[in-house]
């Protein structure tokens, strides 16, 4: 007993330190074993040399990576103008679905149909239909650009999802708050704008972050109708070199962007949980 006191630790603390050390050792060992298994056993498989040459070819990666980065600028560009449009349209659709007045019933139907249709149709189909279909009606250049109509396809699809998230946010604000605000003499519009929406939007920010991350990846679907963004550029290199490494390069670039974004979304989510409790 006297020795433990000298070390400044109670028996309990010493036990807990020991437990911590023990779990640290177990975690380190199990991680090491898993990593070692991957490093040792995967290269022992008969096809590894071929797979390595096809997917993890250093020379091809070095050759193509700068051009992939260059092509990624197009992704960022499309993302940059689509995201705000999606936020605005999504909010409008959510408000349309939330319209209470009987006279505005057609608006509710429209909102419901819009979300049903654009959530139900695969994105790539919408991209094809709008990206080739509307310009095919005979629009003059530059108004038939695949950038414009492809982006519109993304905006329509994503705002359907975003609208539903906003709607769940609006529903999460308790009815009593609306009643209270109305009883103070605020109009319906003021209630929505000044009482409900500020809380609703704040509640769904983490969920909307996930939509941003998904959108950032789906921008690549525009490559089907012409724009040479990172996915198409990687595909071109793949064909020329008969090697899949450029796709791995593209994946790395996507990860560099999405991992911090995902972590940030997680952080927001955790913060919201803390604030609520």
């Amino acid at each position: 007993m006297a020795t433990t006191k000298a070390a400044g630790m109670t028996r309990r603390e010493r036990f807990e330190a020991q437990q911590r050390r023990r779990s640290l050792i177990i975690a380190a060992t199990s991680t090491l074993v898993v990593v070692a298994c991957i490093i040792i056993f995967v290269p022992m498989t008969p096809g590894w040399a071929k797979v390595q040459r096809s997917f993890f070819n250093g020379d091809v990666l070095v050759d193509t990576f700068p051009k992939l980065l260059d092509a990624f600028k197009i992704n960022i560009m499309i993302f940059a103008w689509s995201a705000p449009a999606i936020a605005i349209l999504g909010l409008l659709i959510a408000l349309a679905r939330d319209a209470k007045s009987p006279a505005l019933f057609p608006l509710r139907i429209f909102g419901a149909t819009f979300t049903d249709v654009f959530r139900g149709v695969p994105v790539i189909l919408t991209v094809y239909l709008i990206g080739f279909g509307i310009p095919g009606l005979g629009l003059p250049r530059p108004w038939n650009s695949p950038y414009i109509w492809g982006s519109l396809a993304l905006i329509l699809t994503y705002s359907a999802y975003v609208a539903e998230i906003f709607r769940s946010g609006i529903d999460s604000v308790h009815q009593s708050q609306r009643s209270a605000a109305l009883s103070l003499g605020l109009s319906e519009r003021q209630v929505m704008r000044d009482v409900v929406l500020p809380q609703a939007i704040r509640n769904v920010v983490p969920a909307q972050m996930n939509m941003l991350i998904a959108l950032q990846k789906d921008v690549s679907l525009l490559s089907f109708i012409g724009p040479v963004e990172i996915f198409r550029q990687a595909g071109v290199f793949k064909s020329l070199t008969a090697n899949f490494t450029p796709y791995v390069g593209a994946a790395i670039i996507f990860l560099i962007v999405t991992i911090p974004a995902t972590r940030y979304a997680d952080y927001l989510m955790a913060k919201q949980m803390r604030d609520r409790s």
């Binding site: 071929k50 096809s54 080739f132 310009p135 793949k238 008969a242």
Partner: protein, 271 residues
Amino acid sequence: MTKMLSIMAAALALTSTAALAGGHCAAGKTLTEGKLTIATGNPAYYPWVLDDAPESGQGFEAAVAYAVATEMGFAAEDVVWVRSSFDEAIQPGAKNFDVNMQQYSITAARDEVVDFSAPYYTAPMAVLVSPGATDTAPTLDALRELQWGAVGSTTAVPKLTDVIQPSSDPLLYGDNADVNAAMSANQIDAALFDLPTALFLSAVMIEGSKVIGQFAPDTSDNPDQFGMLMEEGSPLKACVDEALAALTTSGELAAIEATWLQDTTGVPLIK
């Protein structure tokens, strides 16, 4: 038990000798003994394969396939057709075909990953223009100003960026059908294809479009010769090359080309 095994072995030996007369070089080298499995595109396009039905032997590549198979000692009914994408053809690992024919241009980089047969066709690249751009002169200067499109997985892309060097960024697509759609939607003025494909598209698919010029096949460093694609290190390569050489010497290959790709003359060269 042993008796049954030996009967089975005898039966197997019988069927295989029946299929491959005289122990031809392809014996024991194909996916299924006695069968030659050939892959084509999905869909396969005219004039390479007619009506997307390679089994008929109609179309240039289908006809070459059957001629090569015959030369290798396979009967027509022993030719099995499968479909494959470009990615399936180059993925590492087991393939579902013995040879793959879908206008694969032979390039040095590709040759490191897969094997190519000797070329069976040399395809010049040709320029297909939309109805609105048919007056374009077949000169590099005039072509440079057009809005270009191409299929992203073809050797048309390096040709476009290295030789034509268009002033605005070309748009790239997944397959011929998408290039058609873009041209019909007036999103691109011109597209680069191999000559037979370009002629087919202009005659059948895109009304009012025109093939205004071709690049001489021998002047570029990439002559765009089509080869049959095989797995890297395929033991079949020697047999296929031998068959193709025999077809070339006998003039049969030229005859097939004359049958299916005869109208490729008369398109002006691009200067």
